[in-house]
Structure formats: structure tokens, C-alpha cells
Subunit: 494 residues, 2 copies
């Protein structure tokens, strides 16, 4: 889920300075209005070490009115705190009606750190998450506004930042942050992803902030806080209450930049090279799929992508390496009557493979958050809930030992146009192009936003999205094959 | 939470026969209407062995129309099922729109049994609970009505039933149910209580059914199903959707019989005996409280009860045995301005004792579901949420090692009247009787219903309610002292 905040977004200092004045005015005014409405506000500043949480807190303290504003850091627990239930420390510092508490790490720091250090199991992490949900919902029902910001850095950016701190003359021993190996860092992000995903709700949605560029970071933090405060006041004035609906919340604006913009499309393979690699990986997959069968590990592969991005071709190349007894391909078309009479996930649950077998989905349950969203077939709340429902579904698959991989085949807008024209001109390809394809094409930007949200919300440790550059079909096919082999090998090794 | 279904309620066969005809007609009509509205219905029949779940299912099959009705039993898992995620077996059997599935044990049987057998930890049980909540909420959002019935037997009734089955000529080897020791049975109930409590929601509330008398049991089951179906149809017709609000649901009718009716009030102590026992237990408590201090175990004692039931006197007798350095008494009066500016639990969190210390609450957070409910100081949804919020709070106390005991001092209506008159007549007691006491007294039945709900929803393994017969003050005081000593001793023993 962090892909969408590793885009390299920046802001110039001069632009920041230009916007800062207006933002500050708005924040002060919102703070005043919230105080007048007697709404307690909690702002949680969480994220990876080195992302500049301290600087953001300083900035917020400068921007807002210090009356009624308090900052609390949750470092190591004091004796007083250790001798009481975990949440006691937070209760002590809850803001009264009309006040604001900025909480460093909030109730998220300790469970993440404990799990990271191996001091608590996955189940215990889920238990801590449950308690957090109980607390946040209870406060929310009582009228508290909870704003949660997560500051993210890529591993490279993180390492650079921490190394700099360690070298700095002003270093604070013990407070420079951990210098993680890449593996450790990924573990940290897995833990964070799990807890963030499960505490994402309409009551208190997470705001994800790319923290590489400090001007962009601070401006995004300010704008996020502004947006949530404004939304809350609007809601209060129209309905008389705040955030009680337990419903996921997403920004509905099409983003300026998406994860797809980061896919490097100019990758290609020579045909001779392609043939060689294809043979190599097909042979490998043949072995690995039997090995998976023998060790009772199932595989679920999801293929999504633009029209004409070559999903079918990639699937065929994958299968020709394998024994037909081991796999099943589900081409997702319009649901049957029986399927329509059930929950939309029912048709997919039916097809879940037995231990040792493999199911490939050519299009999938992601229709809920792609075509159903863009075409308006599902109501907003329905597709929004979809992210959580899909994550829960895939988590159960993974929990039972299934390896879940999801491919998005990405091509450029121009490449698609060329392929469409080619299909129209070539007699045996004409059945593959319909009016609907042209209609979908017109909604390219809407789909792009939907894909970005999909990846931001459903690319998880247990079921990652893999973006395949597919302008070159040969490259894409080998890339898919290769990735399946690698992940399968990884999973089968002890 | 099972106290409220151990009341010994019965129904004559003749009464059953009289009511059956009308009930059956209503159920058939409701089934037809739900089918017309295309609502899928899941009826989960769960409960202890020997409670007659099978007979109830048979009865329901006789009462309702077999078209569109299916019964599924979840026994041991098949190979097919074991090789897929836990929930696959349920997904396969979900009813389509307009159909009804009766599910034996539903998704509750397996986690309860695993936890009982020590095959999963508390945290893992909580994780399974989380998954169940996700599933039920998802189905509910999709328009499914989930009706959950839990059939309860006291340990005595349970043992009798199982023994009878073992002796029966028609016995089904392996299916007679476990013959538990009392300790094992209590463990089972603890597990069940935890999972029932955490899956209780407005979306799908539990219906608790006393299963000792079979006519009463079947009629209650039928009536519960009828009530939930009717409520759902009403809701659908007035708001166009069903059970989406995540809000607790309780019956609001004053019950015919409550847990208080089971308290045997005619217990008394001679003064000489009283003095002896008082001294004995005070000495014991003195030792135990120091022992608790040294082993860093805290104690939270809650005192609630009718006006003039003798709470103050009982607390004084308890304290006179102890070192004043170890305890603190919180007399709960009107909240301060600062307290009013926070969540209602905030004032109690503040007073949570450090490890090794003791806090006594003379009245407590239970005001939320007693006086605030009866007097209308809290909105219905507020006090209803109170049960969950209070359970979560007490669970956190227990989780951190605090021993939580809650006393309800019970006196009869007549005894209260006598004590009120006595207070009016005795000069030095006159300050203890006010107009408000007389006003509260008029609402005796409302309070009785509120106490019953409170005990049904918040008497838990980790924080039990103890009902003290207090018509005789001497008996009550010793009983409180004795109970504290016993529970403390139990908790401090390894």
C-alpha cells in the first residue's frame, strides 16, 4: 500500500512559501471553528524513522494557535504507565471538548515496534489492532475528530536520511532512528501495512504522505489536516454529528500522479532472447508447480490490465509450461443468475483451489473497484467497502497457505490506440475489438485513478500487486513467467 | 452473561400447543415476505451440548416452508474443506437472495471447540472473532439477515441431559456430547462468552435462550426468530435497507423474570456469629492485600445496589481490615467541569490503580446503563453502546493483571421501604433520605430491568457481577468480605 507514496513528488521552497500564508490562515480559522463547536481533535503523527515527524509537529505548532493545543510524545513507557493497562497513557492525554492534542506516534508506535522486534505474534498484533479500533470508534461516537497521518519514505530515502543523522554534529544519541537492512525495513512496512489497513475507516481514515521532499511533506500534511477538518465541520453542520458512519473514505479527486506513471514502459526483448528465456522459465515453472503440488501449496494468480494489454497471451505462455491437471483458468465474464443471487465475492470463493492446485483469474474480483466503480454499476459505498472486503478475502487465502500474486499489465495510451487499430485492420483479430473497448478508452483517466486507488489499498504483503510494463508483448510475457517462478521458489523454500 | 438464562423458566406443553398454531402461521407469512423482498436469511443455531439444538432445527423445519429452506450442519471438516481457507465451507452454503439457510453451530462451533481444547490462544480466538465480524458485517451490508440463537443450560441441567443420552438405547456413539467436569464446563462458557460478546452487534445480535424446558426453549426460539424477522421487514420498509447501522440491539420490554428474582434474600447472620466472621475475614484480607501488593496485583471493586441497600456500611467493614496506604475509595458524584469535557469513562480511567493497589468505587461507570438509562440522561444508543464500552474497559484492566469484582447489593422492595421510613424517623439518618430516593423508588421496575440487562451483558469471566442478598445487613457485609478474600486468594495462587 506504500507504492502510491513512492512517486518522488516534490515542491519547491518558493512554492511552499507562497502557499503557506493562506494555509496557515485557513488552519487557524478551522481551529477556531472546531473549538467553538466544542469538538476535541486528535492529530496522530506516525510514520517511519527519518521521515521528519518532529519537523512536521514543529511546523503544526507554528501554524496553529497554541491555546488549546498540546503535543504529546509517546516514547518509552514510564513506571507509572507500565503498571497500568496499555491505553491508560492515552486516556490521560485525551483532549477535552474544543481542544487539540497532537500525538507523536499515538497508539500505533508501540504495537508496530513490538511486532517488528518479534515480541508479539501476528494474532497479538491483530488483538492490539482490535483495541485501537474500539478506542477510535468509541471516541468518535463521543464526537472526537481523529486525524491520522502516516509519513512514508522509500528504503533508499530512509537510509540516506538516517545515515545523515548519524553523521550530524547535532545528533541525539539513541534518537537518530534505526539503520535497517532492506529486509528489516520491509518487515517494518509489512507490520505497518497490516495495522494501517485494519484501522482504516470512515471514522478516522489514514492520510498517506510522501515524506522525501520536506516542502512537499509539510504542505501535504497541512492540506490533509485542512481537508479533514473542513469535511468534519461541513458534516457537523449538515447532519448534526461527525464521522459516525463506519464507511471507508477516499479522496475522489483524480490524482496528479499515479503509480502507473512510475512504470518504465520502454523495456523490450529481442525475439531470439525471448524464445530462450521463455523456454527456460517454462521448464522451471513446470518443476516448481509439481513441487508446489507435492508440498500442498496453492497458487492464485490474478490478471488485470488495460484492454489489449496482452493478458490472454501472457496467460497462455504461462500455462504452456504446466501440467493441465494442476491448473484452472477462470475467465471472468458476466455473472450467472445464481451468482447474481449471492454476494459478489461468492463466485470467486467457489473457485478457490484445493491445496496444491492453481487457479488463474483472467479478470477477477477487482472488477468491483475498477469497472463497477468507473461505470457506476456499484454504489460509491459498495466499491469503497470493496477494498476492505477484498483484503480480508485475500488475507484468508494467504492465511491458509495460498500464494496470491496479482498482475497489472500496463501499456501506454498510444500503444493501446495502435493495437486497437491493428485489431480493426486484421480480419482474425476483429472479434477482439468492440464498441465497448472504445468507450472504455475514453475513460482512461478515470480508470487510471481507480487503478491507483486499487494498488494503494490492496497491494499487501500477503497479496502484492506486480506492475508489468507491457508495451512490448515479449518482454511482458517473460516478465510474468519469471515473476511467478521467483515468487513460487521463494515461497517453497523453507 | 449466562445468568439471565438460568432462571428456570418453563412453559406447559398445553400452553405450547395453544401458541404453536399462531406462531407457525406468522413464521410462514414472514418467510414468504422475506422471500418476496429477496432477502437471504441465515439462522445460526448454537449452544452447549445437550441443549437440544437438533430438536430445535427439526421444529423449525416443520414450522417453515421447505422450499427455499436448507439446513447445514458443520461437523468435522472434510478433506475438501481442510485444504481451503476456514470460511470456504460457509461461503459454499450461503443462501441466495430470498432463501433461508439454517446453520448448525455456524461459524462459531470450530473456534469455540479449538479454544476449549487449548489448540488456540486467546489472541487467536480474538483473531477468529475478528474474521467472523468481518464476514457478518459484509453479508449484512449485502442485505443478508443473520439471526443467531444461543441455547444455554446450567451445569446441572447439562450433566443430567448428557448422562441421560449416554444411557439411552438410541444413543449415537460419539454424538452424545461431552460429559464435562464443572471446571471444564465453566471454561467452555468462558470461551463462548468471549466470542458471543465480541460478535454481538446491531447487525446480528445474539438471542439468548434458556434451554432447560423444551417447550419454553422451542417457543422462545420461534418467538425470537419471529421478532427479528418482523423488525427487519419493518426496517426495510421504512428505511429501504436492513441492519446496516452498527449499533447494539436489546429487547426493551421489561422482562417477566430477572436475575434478581433468583437471589435468595432470606439469609441472615446472628450478631455473635457476625462479629466472629467479620474479625476472621478482616484479618485474612489484611494479609491478602499485602500479598497482592507484593505480587503487584491490583484490585478494582465496584459497588452498586439499590438506595439504602447498605453499600457504605459494607465498604467500611471491608476497609477497616486494611492498611490505608493500599486503597482508595472513589465516591462517584456529579462529574466536574473537566470530567464533563471528556468521554464519560475518562474520569474512571484516571483513577485506575497502580500495580499492587486497590480502588473501590462507591457507584461507578455503571451509572451509564442504570441511572442514565432509566432517567433518560443518556440517549438510547449511548447507553446501549455502554455495555460494549464497559466490557472493553474492564477487559483491559483484567488483561493488565487487575482483579475486577463487581457487587450488586440486593434488597427487596419492602425492605427498602422500611429502611426509608427508618431513615426519616431517626434524626441522625435524616440526611440520608431525599426526595430523589423516593422518586427512584417509583421506578423500581425500570431499574430492575436495567439491572437485568446490565448483568446479562457485563457479567464476564474477567469481571464478574456478584449478587449479594442484603436484606440482612450483617449477612451482606460478611458476604462481601468473604467473596473478596476468596477471589483474591484464588487469583494470587499460582
Amino acid at each position: 500500500m506504500f507504492e502510491a507514496v513512492e512517486l518522488g513528488q516534490t515542491l519547491e521552497k518558493s512554492e511552499f512559501k507562497e502557499q503557506e500564508h493562506e494555509l496557515r490562515g485557513t488552519l487557524l480559522e478551522l481551529q477556531r471553528e472546531l473549538a467553538e463547536e466544542k469538538i476535541p481533535v486528535i492529530i496522530i503523527i506516525a510514520g517511519v524513522d527519518g521521515s521528519g515527524k518532529g519537523d512536521v509537529v514543529d511546523r503544526l505548532n507554528k501554524w496553529m494557535d497554541s491555546r488549546g493545543l498540546q503535543t504529546h510524545a509517546f516514547w518509552d513507557e514510564t513506571d507509572e504507565e507500565l503498571e497500568r493497562p496499555d491505553h491508560w497513557r492515552f486516556w490521560k492525554r485525551l483532549p477535552g471538548r474544543g481542544a487539540i492534542s497532537i500525538m507523536f506516534n499515538g497508539w500505533y508506535g508501540i504495537p508496530i515496534e513490538r511486532h517488528m522486534r518479534g515480541e508479539c505474534s501476528d494474532a497479538e498484533l491483530d488483538e492490539a489492532t482490535l483495541r485501537i479500533n474500539q478506542l477510535e470508534r468509541m471516541l468518535s461516537r463521543d464526537g472526537t475528530l481523529i486525524i491520522k497521518l502516516w509519513f512514508h519514505l522509500s528504503y533508499q530515502a530512509h537510509t540516506k536520511r538516517i545515515k545523515k543523522r548519524h553523521k550530524s554534529r547535532n545528533r541525539l544519541p539513541g534518537l537518530e532512528g534505526h539503520l535497517f537492512t532492506q529486509e528489516q525495513y520491509e518487515q517494518l512496512l509489512d507490520t505497518a501495512e497490516s495495522i494501517l489497513r485494519k484501522t482504516e475507516s470512515g471514522v478516522s481514515p489514514w492520510q498517506m504522505i510522501e515524506a522525501d521532499n520536506k516542502w512537499f511533506r509539510d504542505m501535504s500534511a497541512g492540506r490533509s489536516i485542512q481537508a479533514v477538518m473542513q469535511m468534519t465541520l461541513n458534516q457537523l453542520r449538515s447532519s448534526g454529528r461527525i464521522g459516525c458512519e463506519e464507511q471507508p473514505v477516499l479522496s475522489l479527486d483524480n490524482p496528479a500522479m499515479t503509480v502507473l506513471d512510475k512504470v518504465y514502459l520502454d523495456q523490450a526483448l529481442e525475439r531470439a532472447d525471448y524464445k530462450k528465456q521463455l523456454r527456460h522459465y517454462q521448464k522451471k515453472l513446470h518443476e516448481l508447480s509439481w513441487k508446489a503440488y507435492l508440498s500442498q501449496r496453492s497458487l492464485v494468480l490474478v490478471f488485470e490490465g488495460w484492454d489489449a494489454s496482452g493478458k490472454g497471451g501472457a496467460i497462455r505462455r504461462l500455462l504452456s509450461g504446466m501440467d493441465a491437471r494442476l491448473y484452472r483458468v477462470i475467465s471472468v465474464a458476466a455473472p450467472t443468475d445464481e451468482e447474481l443471487a449471492h454476494h459478489y465475492l461468492w463466485r470467486f470463493w467457489r473457485q478457490v483451489p484445493r491445496a496444491g492446485y492453481m487457479t488463474l483469474y483472467d479478470r477477477s474480483w477487482y472488477g468491483r473497484v475498477l469497472v463497477e466503480r468507473v461505470e457506476g454499476f456499484a454504489q460509491t459505498s459498495e466499491w469503497m467497502w470493496g477494498y476492505k472486503e477484498i483484503n480480508n478475502f485475500e488475507e484468508q487465502l494467504a492465511h491458509s497457505g495460498t500464494i496470491v500474486l496479482k498482475f497489472w499489465l500496463h501499456i501506454s495510451n498510444e500503444e493501446q490506440l495502435e493495437r486497437f487499430h491493428d485489431r480493426e485492420k486484421t480480419p482474425w483479430k476483429q472479434h477482439k475489438i468492440t464498441d465497448e473497448d472504445w468507450r472504455n478508452r475514453e475513460k482512461w483517466d478515470d480508470y487510471k485513478a481507480a487503478v491507483n486507488d486499487m494498488i494503494a489499498h490492496t497491494s499487501t504483503h500477503h497479496a502484492p500487486w506486480i506492475l508489468i510494463p507491457a508495451n512490448d508483448k515479449l518482454f511482458a510475457r517473460v516478465e510474468v513467467l519469471k515473476t511467478v517462478c521467483e515468487r513460487l521458489k521463494q515461497a517453497l523454500e523453507p
